[in-house]
């Protein structure tokens, strides 16, 4: 090994603390990127693979009832590849271990070879042909209730109760997410999906020889829009509710919205983290190189060219960059596969295809090399530009001035404090860089914590300001307002509010969106519409109110007229003016005055559900009575919705944010440690002189750490503002149909970010303070460098 390379490794060993800290900063940046990319890629790859393997349909259409022969007419349409008809029946399920009523859907099993929506069996087996009393249950439900096959279950179909044996637990891409009709958050506890042989289901649901849903795939190159009109024309006489594609299929929509959300986080976090890490690497390496001034001079005096000196120090930083890169890729791979596994559980994928694209590694390597290289070259060139004779001399005393604060009259400072102030002012760029570095790491800490606050605020707005009912009830269909009396007479129920919900397609110019319109009471106490300040919005007697995101998607503003196509009941098509936009963070929906909606539906005073205010100590009795009401299709509880929200949507966001908080902390600690460690090596001679003159360790440490304290003190507020700004950018970018992230940062998040930075400052200060004790006092009496 050449002498210079030996020097390289010894030098690296000598500053190993800093080498590790810098590598950690870079590594954390790279890890964020690798982790995000790997997680997202793995999820998307797995999703695509599952869709292929389990033959997820490309179009879906529900209808009232059609004879089996109609299927062949659809199958014969050009562009249609495979069509499958099936029967879906609503059901009520009795689960003795669970107080609340459980509603569900029963789907007929795919029968022929090459069928769609294949089932993945997690446990047990599929029902055998001819066994009329066997069924399988969705794994989400099984998991939520910890059910293991096989066990009996009382299921009521079409008013007739029957005992089924649950022989298996299955999943399929169609129900990765399962949502009860009318619900905005997935519900695995009180909503269940079952599959059984078609024949007994047909018999139980009066569908013999008929079907009520059609799903299918298309020939390559065909879009759903190309065939929709033809299919709808065939099915309209049979109560067809309109063809829709995957993007409207509820599970796919939730999943893709979540992936979109994750995609934004997986882009924005790494971009910010990597930029911060690259910036810091640049600064830190630059300063580290500046401390090598004497060495650079000696090498040049030996006759090394500037280029070879630069090359030598580039190797120095290359080692650090390589270490950071290795840490980042290994850490990112580890965190990424761990997180993908976590998501696999969240989405209950039967397997996970881990994917890490070579391009991701390439970008990581490139960022590391550039960030480390630029700082090194600039700094080494500056030193190498000096003539060796000058550079080997002790550096002349730096040019200082009386500090601004002193000039403004603050002249009572003792000398150590003056040193601190003048040192900060003397090299404002360096001070600014230090402040910038610490501020950035504070900012990304805020960004990491912001997600928790946003989720809490969403829940607060939705479930504590807008939806105030204790229990919600959904009826099997529209019922008359007499139903309200029977609900009001339930024990513990103090107030009942009717609601009417109907599926509809909203059109404005070329935009259309399929959603539900909910008719609510104008003076509603339990369901309120709010503006962005969480103030209630009045429901006018006419017109429709849209959630602001839906308004944006359709491109409408108050005063515009929407075409509303009802998808059930009268199936009327009406022009309805948009009365106002309301603010809702979760889901998208339309609202109308219930009377006005009923007029459009040409129904009298009907309702499809109700909200109850109740003394929840009566809940078991209320649920028991509700279960006994044949008109009741399902019930929900606010507490349940809250729990469900945190378990599903919030979990995936918060998991991601949590990993990022850890990485942000790593960066913060690395930056602070380097800042103070480099300051020590830059000033060790000055500080050792003071020790010789009789300053105690504490007094000397004050000069060094006091400067750090001032910088950190300035950096923290700047960082909190930066974090708030980042949160705004991120929230803006991650608006989806599923939810809009409000820009809300709780004081505790600011406090935590500040605390992490403060604690890492104290820990770094303690580590460096120990080094102050070991300053070489004899060395200062000798020649410099």
């Amino acid at each position: 090994m050449r002498a210079l390379d030996i020097k390289l490794f010894r030098d690296l060993w000598h500053v190993r603390g800093q080498v590790i800290a810098i590598a950690c900063v870079l590594g954390a940046g790279i890890a964020t990127y690798v982790m995000s990319a790997a997680t997202l890629d793995s999820l998307l790859t797995t999703q695509a693979s599952l869709y292929r393997q389990y033959r997820f349909p490309e179009f879906f259409v529900g209808l009232k009832r059609a004879p089996a022969s109609v299927r062949d007419r659809v199958a014969a349409l050009p562009g249609v590849q495979v069509v499958e008809d099936r029967v879906i029946a609503p059901a009520n399920i009795e689960l003795p271990s669970y107080a609340m009523p459980v509603s569900g859907s029963i789907i007929s099993l795919p029968e022929h070879a090459g069928a769609l929506n294949l089932l993945h069996v997690h446990a047990g087996r599929l029902p055998e042909p001819g066994r009329d009393n066997e069924a399988v249950v969705s794994d989400g439900f099984a998991k939520a209730h910890k059910l293991i096959p096989d066990f009996p279950l009382n299921i009521t179909i079409n008013g007739k109760k029957k005992v089924f044996r649950i022989v298996g637990v299955v999943s399929t891409p169609e129900v990765i997410y399962q949502l009860a009709p009318g619900s905005i958050v997935p519900d695995f506890k009180s909503y269940c999906i079952l599959w059984m042989q078609r024949e007994p289901l047909e018999a139980a649901y009066n569908m013999t020889g008929a079907f009520n849903e059609l799903v299918g795939t298309l020939t390559p190159g065909t879009q759903v829009e190309d065939v929709a009109a033809a299919i709808d024309a065939i099915l309209r006489p049979y109560g067809g509710q309109g063809v829709f594609g995957r993007e409207t299929q509820i599970s796919h929509r939730y999943l893709s919205e979540e992936f979109k959300q994750l995609g934004v986080m997986a882009t924005v976090f790494p971009v910010i983290f990597l930029s911060v890490a690259a910036f810091l690497l640049n600064v830190v390496v630059g300063r580290l190189m500046a401390t090598q001034r004497g060495q650079i001079a000696i090498l040049k005096a030996f006759g090394y060219s500037t280029a070879s000196v630069v090359w030598h120090f580039l190797k120095f930083t290359a080692v650090i960059a390589a270490l950071g890169l290795a840490l980042g890729i290994a850490g990112g791979h580890w965190l990424g596969s761990g997180m993908a596994q976590l998501y696999k559980d969240v989405y209950r994928f039967p397997y996970l295809e881990f994917s890490l694209r070579p391009g991701v590694l390439l970008v990581s390597a490139l960022v590391s090399i550039v960030a480390a290289g630029v700082g090194t070259v600039v700094s080494v060139m500056r030193s190498a530009a000096e003539s060796p004779a000058v550079a080997m001399q002790p550096a002349p005393p730096g040019t200082y001035n009386i500090s601004l604060m002193e000039r403004l009259g603050a002249r009572w400072f003792a000398q150590p404090t003056r040193m601190i102030l003048r040192n900060i002012e003397r090299r404002p760029m360096k001070s600014l860089m230090s402040i910038g570095g610490v501020a950035m790491s504070t900012g990304i800490l805020v960004l990491g914590g912001f997600w928790g606050d946003a989720v809490d605020y969403m829940v607060f707005a939705q479930l504590r300001r807008a939806q105030l009912e204790d229990i919600s009830v959904t009826f099997v269909g529209p019922v008359s307002n007499r139903a309200l009396y029977s609900l009001a007479s339930l024990p513990g129920v103090s107030y009942v509010e009717p609601t009417r919900s109907v599926a509809a397609r909203l059109r404005f110019e070329q935009n259309s969106y399929r959603t539900a319109i909910t008719g609510i009471e104008p003076e509603g106490r339990l369901r309120r519409l709010l503006n962005d300040k969480l103030q209630p919005v009045e429901v006018p007697p006419e017109g429709i109110l849209l959630t602001d995101h839906l308004g944006k998607m359709l491109g409408v503003k108050p005063g515009d007229t929407l075409t509303v196509e009802l998808l059930e009941g009268s199936r009327a098509v009406r022009q309805v003016p948009v009365a106002a936009l309301v603010s809702e963070y979760i889901g998208v929906a339309g609202y109308m005055h219930r009377d006005s909606l009923n007029r459009v539906l040409r129904e009298g005073d009907s309702l499809s559900g109700a909200f109850l205010q109740a003394d929840m100590s009566y809940a078991p009795e209320i649920y028991r009575r509700l279960k006994a009401m044949p008109a009741v299709a399902g019930t929900g509880a606010r507490a349940q919705a809250l729990e469900s929200f945190y378990e599903t949507i919030a979990k995936q966001m918060l998991t991601f944010a949590f990993f990022n908080v850890i990485l942000a902390s790593t960066i913060a600690i690395g930056v602070v440690y380097n800042t103070v460690r480099i300051a020590l090596s830059e000033r060790s001679r000055e500080l050792a002189s003071l020790r010789v003159l009789g300053y105690t360790r504490g007094e000397v440490a004050y000069i060094l750490l006091g400067e750090l304290a001032v910088l950190v003190f300035l950096a923290i507020p700047a960082g909190l503002l930066f974090g708030r700004w980042l949160a705004g950018v991120m929230a803006q970018m991650s608006q989806t149909e599923l939810f809009r992230v409000p820009v809300v940062v709780d004081p505790s998040t600011y406090a935590l970010a500040a605390l992490v930075v403060a604690v890492s400052t104290v820990v770094s200060a303690a580590a460096v303070g120990r080094k102050v004790s070991h300053l070489d006092l004899v060395e200062v009496l000798k020649a410099r460098e």
């Binding site: 003048r422 010789v692 003159l693 105690t696």
Partner: protein, 246 residues
């Protein structure tokens, strides 16, 4: 300091330092470097002592030990009867703070402080200091008090360093090659400053040099070689630095 009531006390007070059999071994991995091999040395109050010797003779090592910057491997060093070889680190800091003034070869001024403030940096932590301006007047820098080190010549910087060393009214002034980085003319000005504070403050002064011409300004000249004190000469008359040339 001038005379005690009993003979014994006056002898002890006279010898500010009394080093006996001082050894210093540096453990450099596989080799041991014997920097001091049993040095006996006194430094008396108000005395000007010059330590002469080639590089590696051990003169810096003994100065560092006297100044409380380094510890002897063996022997005793009594400072006014107190054995500083046994002092703890904290006590050594206090010892340097109260009693010792240092002048370095490369000045080691704090670049962010003016001349006056550099001196004040020491007077602020001393028990009975002179006024910083007064110390600067003594070294002839009354008109440069508000200049930063970057605005001073090498000789001026070294005189600030001397003012900084003496402002605490030290009982010992230790100077390691104070003129090593200076030309002869500037060196004389610096030595004059040292000579003056030695006489006016009666601080026991030790000056390390490898320049034999400087020995003329001393009361006593201690020659060192290879870790030993070889000879000690008593000058009959101290010469003024003005008369020194090299």
């Amino acid at each position: 300091m001038a005379g005690g009531t009993s003979t014994l006390e006056s002898v002890v007070a006279e010898a500010v330092f009394s080093a006996r059999g001082v050894t210093k071994v540096y453990d450099m991995g596989e080799v041991q470097v014997h920097a001091l091999r049993g040095v006996d040395l006194e430094l008396f109050a108000g005395e000007m002592m010059v330590l002469l010797g080639p590089s590696g003779s051990g003169k810096s090592t003994i100065l560092n030990i006297l100044g409380g910057l380094d510890r002897a491997s063996g022997g005793t060093v009594l400072y006014r009867g107190l054995d500083i070889t046994k002092a703890r680190d904290k006590e050594l800091t206090q010892y340097r703070r109260r009693h010792v003034g240092f002048v370095f070869q490369f000045y080691n001024l704090i670049p962010s402080l003016t001349a006056l403030e550099n001196v004040a940096a020491v007077t602020e932590i001393a028990d009975n200091p002179m006024k910083p301006a007064e110390a600067l007047e003594m070294v002839g820098l009354g008109d440069r008090m508000h200049h930063f080190p970057s605005q001073l010549s090498g000789g001026q910087q070294q005189r600030v360093a001397i003012a900084r060393a003496i402002a605490k009214r030290p009982s010992v002034l230790l100077c390691d090659e104070p003129t090593g980085a200076l030309d002869s003319e500037t060196g004389v000005i610096v030595l004059e400053a040292i000579d003056r504070v030695n006489k006016e403050l009666r601080a026991a002064t030790a000056v390390i040099t490898h320049n034999a011409d400087i020995a003329g300004m001393a009361d006593r000249v201690v020659h060192m070689s290879n870790g030993h004190v070889t000879t000690v000469e008593q000058n009959e008359k101290r010469r003024s630095p003005k008369d020194l040339h090299w």
